[in-house]
């Protein structure tokens, strides 16, 4: 139950790109770099799509709904993947939790 609660609240989360990150999408992949040039990240196509949705101010559940429609996958599995990616990007300082 606790897990479900966490997931439910996480699903309404909005994230923002950390102010320390510069990024561009090149040939379908996002390249992110900390502005001090110290760390770089390269995202695959799906992760790049998720990042774009984050930057369009979508909540996690909106992102999952969009991806479910685009990739016709199971919502539960997609939610898990999105949550994992968000956690990873937050821990690496790429994303920060936003309002909403």
């Amino acid at each position: 139950m606790v897990g479900e609660k966490t997931q439910a609240s996480a699903s309404r989360c909005r994230y923002e790109l950390s102010p320390d990150i510069a990024w561009r999408k090149i040939g379908g992949e996002a390249f992110l770099i900390t502005r001090d040039g110290a760390l770089t990240h390269r995202l695959n196509g799906t992760a790049t799509r998720i990042l774009e949705l984050v930057l369009n101010d979508k909540t996690t559940d909106e992102i999952v709904a969009t991806l479910t429609a685009e990739f016709s996958g199971a919502p539960d599995a997609i939610l898990r993947d999105v949550d994992d990616l968000m956690t990873e990007m937050v821990s690496r300082g790429v994303l920060v939790k936003g309002g909403g």
Partner: protein
């Protein structure tokens, strides 16, 4: 070995013709009068306004530019620098400034931090104020640059020192390198003096005398390059590009002329006031021609014994010979000096000498019976 993300970005940008690096000179005004300065002595036209610069930044972001260099002239002479940096920040560039640093005070450091500027590169010619100011020809400029370095470092802004080597400071690179090391600041030293953007050659008269060049390349700042050059294979004249000019880099001058790189003055591909930047980038004949040039087109270089030491530069060729493929005296002189420096470096280091010149030593390496060091490639 897997590619680092930075290598992947650069490779992808070249393959897809994305101008991943852009350099904008926002002004050619400067209060210093350095003799080696590459800015043209005569320059007319009205500088791009704030709105026009911001439009260029938006167009660059849409084209895929990630690394942005803002320079001049002296970039802090732009009264609207904060507005420009705010736009660069909003558009998520990794932004670098080139400056002499004399206008940097606490307020400007705060501005750089607020705008998430990635790096400030400061021109710094010597730790000796007399030598530095012999070059800038502005009394007191050394102390102001030093103050800027201290302020930036204390605030946590990444600082890089840039030192062109001229006949005035060729003897002081070691002290300068030690200074940079003591402050934990990277330093870029270059003995290659370029003609001005408009092809005037007077700057070359302050270049390091030829007889001193090998010694300059033997100084500690260049040590890792000497190792790399010694081990590098022979130069290849294949289909690959000479550099990123017009492929992954673009330059915009203060009045909006677009070039394949900063040093290609006079090779304008168009002006952003007349045509959208994306249109210039994608369809300019000038840029297309530069893009098509490959190493294999450098006919005059193919039999050169110094080719592997050479940082061939199409822009230097253009400024001196008005072609993009011809060797110039200064490029050839630099490459020769690098070869002499590598040879001297090897002579001074016993292990290098043994590996390179002693066939027995080489055999030992190959058979794995010696000290295990890689066999030296043919030099």
């Amino acid at each position: 070995m897997p590619m680092t993300p930075l290598q992947a970005i650069s490779q992808k940008a070249r393959a897809l013709n994305v101008p991943i690096s852009a350099h904008i000179d926002t002004t050619y005004r400067c209060n210093f009068i350095c003799e080696h300065c590459i800015l043209p002595s005569q320059f007319g036209g009205t500088e791009l306004s704030t709105v026009e610069v911001v439009k260029v930044l938006e167009d660059l972001a849409a084209l895929g530019t990630l690394f942005l260099t803002l320079s001049g002239g002296e970039v802090f002479l732009r009264k609207d620098l904060d507005d420009i940096l705010a736009a660069a920040d909003r558009l998520r560039f990794c932004t670098k400034l080139y400056t002499h640093g004399n206008f940097i005070d606490e307020a400007r450091v705060a501005m750089l931090l607020a705008r998430h500027v990635s790096e400030v590169q400061i021109s710094f010619y010597s730790i000796d104020p007399c030598v530095h100011e012999k070059i800038t020809r502005v009394p007191g400029s050394h102390a102001k640059s030093l103050h800027a370095i201290d302020l930036l470092v204390a605030a946590g802004v990444r600082v890089v020192l840039a030192c062109p080597v001229t006949r005035y400071n060729f003897g002081s690179t070691k002290e300068l390198t030690d200074f940079a090391k003591s402050r934990k600041i990277p330093i870029k030293i270059s003995p290659q003096i370029q003609p001005t953007y408009s092809g005037e050659l007077h700057t070359l008269s302050v270049a390091t005398p030829s007889c001193e060049l090998p010694n300059v390349y033997l100084e500690p700042w260049n040590e890792s390059t000497l190792y790399a050059l010694a081990k590098a294979p022979a130069a290849k004249f294949d289909d690959s590009a000479n550099c990123g000019a017009a492929r992954s880099t673009v330059y915009i001058n203060p009045i909006g002329d677009v070039q394949g790189c900063a040093l290609m003055g006079g090779l304008s591909a168009g002006n952003v006031r007349q045509r959208p930047l994306a249109d210039i980038w994608r369809s300019s004949d000038v840029l297309k021609q530069i893009r098509e040039i490959a190493r294999k087109d450098r006919e005059d270089c193919k039999r050169c014994e110094n080719a592997k030491y050479c940082s061939f530069c199409m822009a230097n060729s253009w400024q001196v010979t008005k072609t993009l493929l011809s060797p110039t005296a200064s490029m050839c002189e630099q490459s020769n000096a690098k070869r002499l420096a590598v040879e001297e470096h090897k002579r001074r280091l016993p292990i290098f000498a043994a590996m390179a010149d002693d066939p027995v030593g080489r055999q030992r390496g190959e058979n794995g019976e010696g000290d295990g060091t890689e066999p030296e490639p043919d030099l």
